[in-house]
């Protein structure tokens, strides 16, 4: 495995560390997929409609039915 040479000016002399491993993310990604063409984002404005009743809104975390969407992401990853 490639490693970065340990910086011996900050590592104690009796430390056996050789360096830290190089990870794929350390290399700049120059593939075509990493540089897609610029785009423009469009988010439609929310409209005032379809309100939940107070109790449902409280349990759901929003009073707007349109915003009651499923979220599957857990712990920074998608299951």
């Amino acid at each position: 495995m490639d490693i970065y040479q340990a910086d011996l000016t900050i590592v104690p002399k009796d430390c056996e560390i050789q360096g830290i491993p190089k990870l794929p993310c350390d290399e700049p990604d120059t593939s075509e997929l990493s540089m897609p063409a610029l785009g423009m984002a469009y988010v439609p404005a929310q409209r005032f409609r379809e309100l939940y009743d107070l109790s449902t809104g409280f349990r759901t975390g929003t009073i707007f039915k349109e915003l009651d969407l499923p979220f599957y992401g857990i712990g920074g990853t998608l299951l």
Partner: protein, 84 residues
């Protein structure tokens, strides 16, 4: 906490949350008349629910302690005392 007290607090939290959510909507839609009147409606409802709660169970905030013979803030249990 007694069932009555719990229900009264739940009503208050529910309408307060609706106001919080409406406020977020109105921040980005300040001219939406329907939302403004809905806010007003829930605001009145919250005032009513809050007043009823405080009359029955005592003040929720010390700012709302009324001018009475004694300091009513300390009459109800502290949060860490759990059950009424």
């Amino acid at each position: 906490m007694s069932d009555n007290k719990c229900d009264a607090m739940k009503n208050l939290l529910e309408v307060s949350f609706a106001l919080d959510d409406l406020r977020l909507f109105l921040d980005t839609h300040p001219y939406e008349k329907e939302a403004i009147s809905c806010y007003q409606l829930y605001k009145d409802q919250r005032n009513k629910v809050l007043e009823e709660y405080e009359q029955t169970f005592g003040p929720i905030l010390s700012y709302n302690v009324n001018d009475e013979n004694q300091w009513t803030w300390v009459e109800s249990p502290w949060p860490w005392e759990g059950e009424v």
